[in-house]
Structure formats: C-alpha cells, structure tokens
C-alpha cells in the first residue's frame, strides 16, 4: 500500500490531493480569481498560494482522514508553469516532507494530467489530447515516452479562450473557459474565423487577433451577440483540435482517445470528439472539472507511479522549472 500526497501550484490553482493505490481520498483546491478583464500575474498568484496552501493542506488531510504518519511520499509540481507560484508551493512540500521524514518526488505537470486521466477513466493506451491554459498537445505513448505528435505553434487553446473572455469582460469565476462555454450554448450565428492547421500542428494567435479586432464593432453594430462570438470561437478551435487528434489516431491505429487539461471539461469539445471517435469505431474517455482542471491528486497519482517504479527526488534536487516538456520524462512505470 502506497499513500501519496501531491502539491500543485503551477498556475492560478493551488491544490493538494491524497491518493492511496489508485483511490483519490481527497482533492481540495483553491483558485485565484482575478477581476473580469484581467489575467493573473506570477507575483500575485504566488502570494495567493502562500496564503492558502496551509488551509488547503489541512483540508486534504482532514477529508482523507489520514495522518501525516500514513503518507509514504510527498509529490510536488516541478514544472512547467509560472516560476514564483511553483516555488511557493514547492516550499510547503519540501518543509512538510522534512518535518514528517518522507521522501519526495518531482512531477511534470503534463504527466500529472495524463496519469490522472488514465486513472479516472481506465483508458489503457489512448491518444491523448492535452488542452489547457498553457498547453495544447496531441500525445501518443511509445517506448517509455509520451511523444508529442502535434501541438500549438503559438498560444495554447485555453489561453486563446481566456484572452477572448477578457475582451468580453466575462467573469473569471470559476474560469473564463467555463463562462465562454455557457454563452456559446445560446449562440447560433456563425462568424467565419481563421482556421489554421499545419500538418499535425495548430495555431491560434492569428485567430485571436482577428476576433479581438473584429469583436467590438460586430457587437456594437448588433450584427453578432457575445453568445454568437463564443459559439463561433468554440466551434472553430475545437474543430482544429479534433482534426489533429483524428490524424494522430489514424496514424497510430488507436481505438482510444483521452482528453485531459482544463479545456477538456468542455462538454461541446467532448461531444465533437465523441462524434469523431464513433465514426472511427473508437472510444472517448473524458473526465469532469474535478480532475481536468489542475489539482493536487493528479500530481499525487503521477508521483505514486514514479515512486512505485523506484524513483525519489533528493531534497537538493527539488527545484522548479518554468519549461519542462512532456516528452522529457522517462515513463518508468509503463511497458
């Protein structure tokens, strides 16, 4: 029996989760919500994490009904992400690991998303679409690596949604992407937007500039409603994602597709993926916001796998790094 605790703080969510042999015992999270129209800055986000880390940690222990004695390994997010928030979160992890006399594991955030998705859905060897505020990747596992088949060549899809939400001054609570999804349900007039797929890769920055520039006048003239624009944006960016995912599935002959990352809890994206998968006789695996959005349990789960395969990270090596690619990690726990 192995009990792992995971600390996540690479962006605006501070999460602590406890996982015991594939069972999530607790997974509380606290989100730094900025006013409409504003993104989150590293300094303020780090401060948020420092203010809330200890209460979230206490909640994780209480909900799991676990005492520090029962924990075997302390896992934390090494990167990728924003420097200051990563470090503030790692500091709590390092301190409790020493107080409790436990080994540590440094976890790649992207690997955390993938392993959590695999755990929750039971998908065995899926093509993974990883879509979040900082990442957009199509991934296939082979020979102890999660290999990136295709990715964005500029901004992440979540970043594109978040920045458009700022133009419309939508609330950031619980997330800009969620609020775009709600408005999109009521939109129906489609605005043609730049659709950029290059081989296995996608690009969103041209599309974002286009809609950022056009939106104010289209809305002012009453030609399109905010709902129509959210609808058009979603339909376009999701179609691009489906296209590159389908290409990867065809290439690998895969019968499974898994969506992870914050944008992955979008129901419309899941629906479009489901349609594509069905046509190919494949199966879609997706999760909800508890496990899609950054959380502590995903770091605990990836750390649990690493720990069981014999890894630990010496304290002096528990650094953080803003850049840390998915395909840099040796996947020692899969064959």
């Amino acid at each position: 029996m192995v009990v792992a605790i995971g600390f996540e703080g690479s962006a605006n969510k501070l999460g602590v989760g406890i996982v015991k042999d594939g069972v999530v015992l607790s997974n509380p999270r606290h989100t730094y919500i900025t006013p409409p129209g504003q993104g989150f800055l590293p300094k303020n986000t780090a401060q948020h994490h420092r203010e809330h880390a200890l209460e979230v940690l206490q909640k994780a222990l209480d909900e799991a009904k676990i005492s520090p004695k029962d924990i075997d390994v302390v896992c934390y997010t090494k990167g990728p992400g924003m420097g200051a928030p990563l470090v503030s979160t790692a500091i709590v992890a390092r301190t409790v690991a020493q107080l409790w006399g436990k080994p540590m594991i440094a976890v790649n955030h992207c690997i955390g998303h993938i392993e959590m998705g695999r755990l929750v859905t039971g998908a065995e060897n899926p093509i993974v679409l990883y879509v979040s505020g900082g990442n957009t990747q199509v991934i296939a596992y082979s020979q102890r690596r999660y290999r990136i088949f295709g990715e964005t060549i500029d901004i992440a899809v979540g970043n594109c949604l978040d920045r458009f939400a700022r133009v419309l001054k939508l609330s950031n609570d619980p997330s800009p992407g969620y609020n775009i999804e709600q408005l999109a349900k009521k939109g129906n007039k489609f605005l043609e937007l730049p659709y950029v797929v290059k081989g296995m890769d996608v690009s969103f920055s041209g599309l974002l500039s286009f809609i950022e520039e056009k939106a104010p006048q289209l809305l002012q003239k009453g030609e399109y409603t905010p709902e129509d624009l959210c609808f058009s944006l979603q339909e376009t960016v999701f179609a691009m994602l489906i296209e590159i995912t389908e290409r990867a599935m065809a290439h690998c002959g895969s019968q499974e597709v898994l969506i992870v990352g914050g944008v992955g809890c979008n129901k419309r994206l899941q629906e479009m993926m489901e349609t594509m998968a069905k046509e190919r006789g494949a199966k879609l695996y997706a999760t909800d916001e508890r496990f899609c959005i950054d959380n502590g349990a995903m770091i605990a789960q990836a750390g649990w796998e690493m720990f069981r395969s014999g890894q630990t990270t010496p304290l002096k090596d528990t650094t953080c790094t803003q850049r840390f690619r998915t395909d840099e990690v040796d996947i020692t726990w899969r064959s």
């Binding site: 420092r50 200890l54 004695k69 409790v96 107080l99 409790w100």
Partner: protein, 87 residues
C-alpha cells in the same frame, strides 16, 4: 580593489537545531535568478539559520530579500501548523 558589493547578514533563530536545518534544507534549493545579481548563502549554527546576502545594487538586494522573507515566513508557518519534526 575597492569593495562594491552590498552585504547583509541575517540570523533567524528556530526552536531547535533540527528546525533550523529543515528551514535551511527548504530555502537552499532554489538558486537566485542569474540576472538578479544577488547571491545568498545559508548556514546553520546551533538553532540559528544564518543567511549572508550579497548584491550589486540596493534595488536588487531589496527584491532578493523580499522574496526570501516571503519564503521564510511560509516555512515558519508551515512548521507551526504541521510540526514539530518527527523524531
């Protein structure tokens, strides 16, 4: 050669030597950003954590020390809530 560096020496006492070592362990891991031009050295003597800072400009010293104090406070609070260390 004339000295051009700013220097600060800071001493932080902890309840026990073990706690001073834990704080030192946590706070020694991250290197200062290279372009910041701040250097810090941490040494434990008894129950005291001694930190020596060097910087080329007062402005940089302030930035380095501000973030150090943010982190130090977090370590102390974590020890208060989740300590004392296991034997």
């Amino acid at each position: 050669m004339t000295e051009k560096k700013l220097k600060v020496d800071l001493s932080v006492p902890f309840p026990t030597e073990r706690e001073a070592q834990i704080a030192c362990g946590t706070l020694s891991v991250d290197s200062e950003p290279k372009r910041g031009g701040v250097k810090k050295e941490l040494v434990v003597k008894g129950n005291v954590l001694n930190i020596h800072f060097e910087a080329l400009e007062a402005r940089m010293m302030r930035v380095g020390m501000n973030s150090f104090f943010d982190h130090l406070n977090l370590v102390i609070e974590t020890m208060e809530k989740f300590g004392p260390p296991e034997k």
